[in-house]
């Protein structure tokens, strides 16, 4: 049995999580500063992939990145293959799982005590420093939870991914597309195997999320008992 789907899924989930991490931090912070109406519009656009069927995302992605479409062609000309390539999987997973990171991070940032940022400013700290050394550490649990959830979602992405990168064993096959193919071709044994692998990974991720939340609670109790 080839372990390629596991490797490919982890690779796709990891890269898309990295993209989502920075994009989610940036947009979560940036959108928060807008007036209510614009904030609402951005919120809708950035959360849309969460509620849309992944096939709709896949459809748009194909229209953008298909080798015969303008953007896809341009990228191919400079040697970047998106459709039918694992890199396309990174884009598809990133778009579908982005809202999970964005919403969690924005929630965390909104709960952040702005007085801390103002205090930093009166001490002459740069905005850059305040963001990375005060705001992000203060919200680290929300950010971590968002990243882990986005990673888990990216790992399980099927719809948009299968539309954009298809199923090429040894090249674009992920755990979820592999399960589908095994099921379709009546290979229950292998389908079960990959279902098992997927269950284990997902369970580990959720245990991880719980640990983050528990340390959070633990700290809080410690805090209230001290003061």
């Amino acid at each position: 049995m080839s372990l390629y789907p596991l490797y490919n899924s982890l690779r796709i989930a990891l890269f898309s999580s990295i993209i989502i991490f920075f994009l989610g931090l940036f947009l979560g912070y940036w959108v928060k500063k807008f007036p209510k109406v614009i904030k609402g519009i951005f919120d809708v656009i950035l959360t849309l992939p969460l509620v849309l069927p992944p096939t709709v995302c896949g459809f748009f992605l194909l229209i953008i990145f298909g080798p015969n479409r303008p953007v896809g062609k341009l990228l191919l000309d400079i040697g970047i293959k998106i459709a039918m390539d694992w890199k396309g999987g990174v884009i598809a997973s990133a778009i579908v799982s982005f809202p999970l990171m964005y919403r969690t991070v924005r929630g965390a940032f909104e709960a952040f005590d702005e007085n801390l940022a103002f205090a930093g400013k009166t001490l002459g700290l740069s905005n850059h420093y305040i963001f990375w050394r005060i705001r992000v550490p203060a919200c680290k649990n929300g950010i971590a939870a968002g990243s882990v959830l986005a990673f888990a979602r990216a790992l399980g992405e099927y719809g948009a991914t299968s539309m954009l990168i298809g199923y090429i064993p040894g090249r674009t096959a992920t755990i979820s597309t592999t399960i589908y193919q095994y099921w379709r071709t009546n290979d229950d044994k292998n389908a079960w195997l990959w279902v098992g692998i997927n269950l284990i990974i997902s369970a580990l991720v959720l245990i991880f999320v719980n640990i983050i939340e528990n340390t959070e609670r633990g700290k809080k109790n410690e805090f209230s008992s001290k003061y």
Binding site: T104, A108, G142, I168, P169
Partner: protein, 289 residues
């Protein structure tokens, strides 16, 4: 403050579920109104036809012509790979007529076909060989790998040309099964090619067609009819020898068909001359004339 984060997470997830919930709600109410409409015209009967994906264009044209002549009968189609349709029928999907792109899927549902382990869904007395199709090798616009023959395909696959991907149906899809025969005929080892990442598997023939027309794969094997409907460049047709036999589409009425009379009317229609003309127009060879 800390609780807010969790709250947000829960809220966003809740929002996702509620919104999805709304959508399903709307859908149901839509289909309800449709149902209401048809029942008000007391006599309208619906026939459900499960047909191989490759028949999409021709069957839609036939539906149009048929419904003009028979105002009281409404045709509902389900197009997918014959393997998927077979699984859906096995799992209890309502279906009156089944048209498969290969005998294998029909046999699996036809107890009287004598196939081992066949299920009893098909009314064997109605079963006919309806159409013949051809498997063709197609390429995307500009033919990036200059594939001109099955030998060129073999050359690229054996040399493992960088960037070359061959598109075919998976082993559950009839066109995939015919392609497996072609690969055998060419003396190629599918498993080995697949391990080298040279094969893209589609879950029905339309998916393979889209992969070729979008240029996502370097070339692919699909039916002559799909190449025609998808306006794709056909390099060459596979011979009957290469496919391990003729590409025959069997059709049959199901044993548990609901509106028997109307189902028979439509079944006779697809065997008739008008339907044959439509089938011929997309390059099928009708076996009933």
């Amino acid at each position: 403050m800390k609780n807010n984060k969790l709250l947000f997470l829960v809220a966003s997830l809740l929002m996702a579920t509620t919104l999805t919930g709304c959508k399903t709600g709307n859908n149901t109410s839509n289909s309800n109104t449709n149902g209401g409409d048809s029942s008000s015209k007391v006599s309208t009967k619906t026939i459900i036809v499960f047909a191989a994906a490759s028949m999409t264009e021709s069957m839609n044209q036939i539906k149009e012509a048929f419904e003009k002549e028979h105002k009281n009968i409404k045709i509902t189609y389900n197009f997918d790979s014959s393997g998927t349709l077979k699984t859906q029928i096995e799992n209890g999907a309502e279906c009156d007529i089944f048209i498969s792109a290969a005998q294998k899927q029909m046999n699996a549902l036809d107890k009287e076909s004598g196939t081992e382990g066949a299920l009893d869904f098909v009314d064997h007395s109605t079963r006919v060989n309806l159409l013949e199709n051809k498997v063709t090798l197609v390429v995307p616009k500009n033919n990036p790998f200059n594939v001109q023959s099955f030998d060129d395909l073999k050359k690229h696959l054996t040399k493992k040309t960088k960037g070359f991907v061959f598109g075919m149906g998976n082993s559950d899809v009839p066109v995939g099964q015919y392609t497996q025969k072609i690969l055998q005929y060419l003396g190629l080892n599918e498993e080995e090619l697949s391990k080298s990442g040279l094969i893209s598997y589609g879950s029905n023939v339309k998916e393979v067609t889209t992969h070729v027309s979008e240029g996502s794969v370097s070339c692919g094997t699909i039916y002559a009819t799909d190449a025609y409907s998808g306006k794709l460049t056909v390099v060459i047709e596979a011979t009957i020898e290469m496919c391990g036999g003729q590409v025959i589409y069997p059709a049959a009425i199901m044993k548990n068909a609901k509106n028997v009379e109307e189902t028979k009317t439509f079944f006779e229609y697809i065997k008739g001359s008008k339907a044959s003309e439509i089938f011929e127009s997309v390059l099928f060879t009708p076996l009933f004339k």
